[in-house]
Structure formats: structure tokens, C-alpha cells
């Protein structure tokens, strides 16, 4: 009896210790976000404050500007924000139908073994490092774009173009979108399908009208995640973007500039204002991601509620 009580007490203290340990871990990891955002914020806001050591930058012209040139000390990111949005949303548009149909095939139509094999291929694609995608893009995608452009008689910067960025990003967000869609489709209640089939709907009608409708909330969550990756991708994008000095770019065969490629290009060699302003660009990127995620989440709620 006595030994039992002792053991229970010991287990209780152990539980307590572990509870605080886990709490500590959670606080630590959460505080990283706060520290990072705070650091970027403090560094990024500095050039706009009076008394900045390299000469104060005008916030309004920074946010709305359509020229970004270090040599003239003209920093305007307005057009870069638009470019980033164009690249990411067009990539999503290209990738979305492909991913959803692939997911539908893997989850519902393909034989079990084939489906499992294809799913692992897609998961493998998700783990390819972005620099490898970048090399692929600057070797293969730019060649395709060059060929397309020469067929249409358009002169390009060696294939580096908005189109190349869109294709690259579409490929990069494809695995995220597909995996999320597969999960969402697999989670659809089989009773719903049986009911649909029993009512006389064909397999195809059921897949499109019942399964996809029931899974749309999860699929949309995948789209949000994919868009996040498209916004944040730096290495691969800067390898094919071409970094235009002004904008915005809407011509598919013209070069472009995204927020991430702006931060990355020449970062290692630069100092002074040109270095500090990259934190401001990072701040703008964080803001763009927050805002678009918030909007998409509102849309997702709307879609999720309709049946």
C-alpha cells in the first residue's frame, strides 16, 4: 500500500515536470516567430524614420514606387508587390485544376497500388530542394519559353520571363496542393458517395458533384498553403525572373521582379541603405502574405458554408 502511494506521487511529479517541459518548448518555438517579426520590423522600419544614417526614405514613394534601382537610390516596391501577386496567383491558377484532378484520380479512380505509388512520387516531388527546381527552370523551362517566343517572333531575355516564373511556381506548388487535396478527398464520408450512386448518379457525376463539393474546404486550404509557398519562394524564382528594374510586368515574355528575388539578389555584397532596405522589402512581403492569407481564409469560410 505504502509503496503504491509513493509510486503514484512520483508519477504525478513526473507528469508535472513534463507538462512544464512541453510548455517551455511551446513558448520557445512561439517566441521565435515574435523575435523574427520584431527584428525584421525594427530593421525594416528604420530607413523611414527621421535621422536614419544613410538618409531618410519616403515611405509613400517606397510603397507606391514603380522603379527599383540601387544605383540611383530609388527604391519603389509598389510594382514588385503587383508582380509577386501576378506570379503567385497565375501559378496557382495553372496548378489548381491539375492538382485537383490528379488528387481525384489518386484517391478515387486509380487502382490501390497505382494510387499509392503515384502518391509517393508526389511526396518525393515536395521534398526536392528549391535550388534544384531553379537549375531545372533555368535549363529547361527557359529553353521552352525561348522556343515558344521564337515561334511567335518575340525577343526574350534568354527565356527568363514572367511565364518561366509562373511555370516554375506551378510545378513547385503542385505537390503541396495535390497532397492536401488527396487528404481532403479521402476524408469525404463514403456514405455520401454511396447515397449519390444509389440515387442513380454515375461514378463521374458523383466524383465531381459530391466528392469535390464535400472536399472543397480542404482543397482550398491546400491552395492557401501552395500560395504561401509561391509567395515565399526565392532561390529558384530569382534564377529565372531576370530582375527588371521597373514595372509592373504583365507581358508573359518580359522579365519580372518579385519581392523575394529583390531581397536575395546581391545581398552578400551589399552594405548601407541597400542592405537595410531589404528588411523593409521583407516586411512588405510578410504583410502581403498576411493580408492575402486573411482574405483567402474569409473566402474559404464562405465556400465551406455553402453546400
Amino acid at each position: 500500500m505504502f509503496a503504491d502511494a509513493k509510486r503514484i506521487r512520483r508519477n504525478k511529479t513526473l507528469d508535472k515536470i513534463f507538462r512544464y517541459l512541453f510548455l517551455g518548448m511551446a513558448v520557445l518555438s512561439a517566441s521565435f516567430i515574435v523575435i523574427i517579426v520584431l527584428f525584421i520590423f525594427l530593421k525594416g522600419i528604420a530607413p523611414f524614420l527621421p535621422g536614419y544614417e544613410y538618409g531618410q526614405v519616403d515611405l509613400i514613394s517606397f510603397l507606391t514606387g514603380s522603379v527599383y534601382r540601387q544605383d540611383q537610390a530609388t527604391y519603389g516596391v509598389g510594382f514588385i508587390v503587383i508582380n509577386t501577386l501576378i506570379c503567385s496567383f497565375l501559378a496557382l491558377l495553372l496548378s489548381f485544376p491539375l492538382s485537383v484532378l490528379t488528387a481525384l484520380f489518386i484517391a478515387k479512380i486509380a487502382p490501390k497500388k497505382l494510387g499509392a505509388a503515384m502518391q509517393s512520387v508526389i511526396e518525393l516531388l515536395a521534398s526536392v530542394p528549391s535550388v534544384v527546381f531553379g537549375i531545372f527552370a533555368s535549363g529547361v523551362i527557359t529553353a521552352i519559353v525561348r522556343y515558344l517566343a521564337s515561334m511567335m517572333g518575340i525577343s526574350t531575355f534568354g527565356g527568363s520571363s514572367l511565364l518561366a516564373v509562373i511555370i516554375l511556381l506551378a510545378i513547385m506548388i503542385f505537390p503541396t496542393l495535390t497532397s492536401m487535396s488527396i487528404t481532403a478527398i479521402k476524408a469525404v464520408d463514403p456514405d455520401l458517395e454511396s447515397a449519390s450512386l444509389a440515387l442513380g448518379a454515375t461514378k463521374t457525376q458523383t466524383n465531381f458533384k459530391v466528392v469535390l463539393t464535400a472536399a472543397k474546404s480542404g482543397i482550398f486550404a491546400g491552395a492557401i498553403l501552395g500560395l504561401g509557398r509561391a509567395f515565399g519562394e526565392a532561390t529558384a524564382v530569382s534564377m529565372v525572373a531576370g530582375n527588371k528594374l521597373f514595372g509592373p510586368t504583365i507581358d508573359l515574355f518580359d522579365i519580372t521582379r518579385t519581392l523575394t528575388s529583390t531581397i536575395l539578389t546581391g545581398l552578400k555584397e551589399t552594405t548601407g541603405l541597400d542592405y537595410d532596405i531589404r528588411f523593409s522589402v521583407g516586411l512588405v512581403l510578410i504583410a502581403v502574405i498576411f493580408v492575402s492569407n486573411w482574405i483567402l481564409n474569409q473566402v474559404k469560410k464562405r465556400i465551406g458554408n455553402q453546400v
Binding site: V67, G242, T265
Partner: protein, 313 residues
Amino acid sequence: MKKIFTLLVAVVMMITLTACQGTGGTTTEGTEGGTTSSTINVYTRDASSGTREAFEDAIGLGEDLTDAASEVSSNGDMATRVGQDPNGIGYVSLTTDFEANNVKPLSFEGVEASNETVLDGSYLMQRPFKYMTRASGDFESDDKEQLVAAFIAYITESTEGLTVVSEAGGIVDMTNARPWSEIAAEYPVLNNDNSGITIRTGGSTSVEKVVEAALQAFQPLAGNVQYAMSQSGSGDAQPRTLGDEKDGPNAVDIGFTSREFKDDEDVSGAMVQGEMCKDAVVIIVEANNAKTDITASEAYDIFSGAKTTFDAE
């Protein structure tokens, strides 16, 4: 769901339309006798690049670079892109492998770029990498002074040191080079364990690659001497070795510039000063481009956007 879909379709159609409009302006101007004349695509390095600085100084571009230029991230990136673009023009350092990248170096003002034409001064798109040390007796210790002197002798006189500099991209004259073993005998300090001594370098950022390669090679030859590089710009070289910052927190032992010393930079007090090597920039076009030579004024016109097509030559 349907509404959103319609909206998306509308957006896509709008973008496609505007894209068509945009491309209309840049279509090629037609072919004549098999040669296509199209708009020149100007490539440039990002503004922090030393090669860009040397190039823009040589043609007097200032801040007049055309907005239509594409920024690339490195020397190799530049060569790759111009090599893939029949209408491209860019500039790289002389050490670039032109053939492997399918690019053709243009002669500048009628002079072809090579080690010989750079060294005799006839090829004009070049700049010197120069060095200055602290004044004799102004080093932290005698040993350090000896080590700095030995290092300068290594990179300017020894066959081994000049080879290292040349491999890192500098253009050097090897005719008077002597074997290192001969020079090393003059500096007994090299035989000590020097791991407690740190040589500090400063000045131009463009020299960083060359100087770091040289210091790395020098380290095992000099009793494992340590080094610290804080390259911040040519303008800091003189103040931090001999001028008013020489006793401050940023003081260095050797300062480098990627240009000639200016009149207000007094280097007469330095223990040694002189030229480490030369750096040359070459304008490149795609290998099949008919162009072979370019003048400074033509380069200015192309890179400022005033001239947008290659002449038929």
C-alpha cells in the same frame, strides 16, 4: 462556387488580353536576307557588384543605365544568360570561360582583351588593385610588421603567390617572379608559430576574392598566421591604415583600393605600397553575333538605352 469560377475566368481573360497587347510592342522588326534585327537585351550585374562598378566607370555610364536592363546575380550567371540570348549584351571579368558559355568577347576601342594588352595598358576597360600598409614601426609588433612585409612580397614577387592571385581572377606580370623559397629566406619570422598574430585587411570589396585566396595560401607558409578581412570600399583603405582612423576600432594593417590612389590619399608614409594586380572587364555578346568591336560611346548608347539594335556589320 460558380460566381468565383466566373470571376477567375474573367481575370484570366483580362490578363491574356493585356499580355497580348504588351507583346505587340516588342515583336521583331522583320527578317531581311536571313539576318534578324531585334531589340538588344541589356544585362547588368546588381549595383553592389565590383565588376559593374569597373564597367560603368570605364564607359562613363554613371546612373544612366536603361530601365529595361535585366539584373543577374553573378559573373557566371551573366555569361550563361548572354550565351543563351542572340540579342543579349553584358559584361564579365576577363577570367571567364567564354567558349563554354557560348559567348564572344568584344574588343574595346579596337583592342582585344588579353593578359598582354591589359598589362601594357592598351586595353582600356581595366582597373588596378592597389595596396598600402601601415607606416613602418606603427604595427602592433615587429613580428607582425615582418609578416605583413612577407605577405606583400609573397603576392607581388613570388611565383607561387602570383599564381594564386592570377587563379583568383587578377591579371599579373610573371616575368620577374622568383620562387617563394628564395624570398622566404629573407623573413626569419616565418619559421615561428605565428598563430597568435592576426593580419587585418580592409578597403575595397572588389579585391576580396583575390586577397582571401592569397591569405589562405599564405597561412600555412607563415606559421599559421591568422587573418581578418573587413572590406568596405576603396575609400576606407587610406584612412584605416595611415589616416585619421588608423588607431580607431576599424584600423587595418593592409588597405586595398580597386583604383589608382587619389591625390588626397597620402600613402608616402606606408611601409610598402604599390600594385597587386589588374582587373579587366570584357563586354560580351552571344557567340553568333556579328559584332566584334565596341567603342566606349557605343557601349554607353547601348547600356543607356539610346541604341536598341545591333548594326548590320
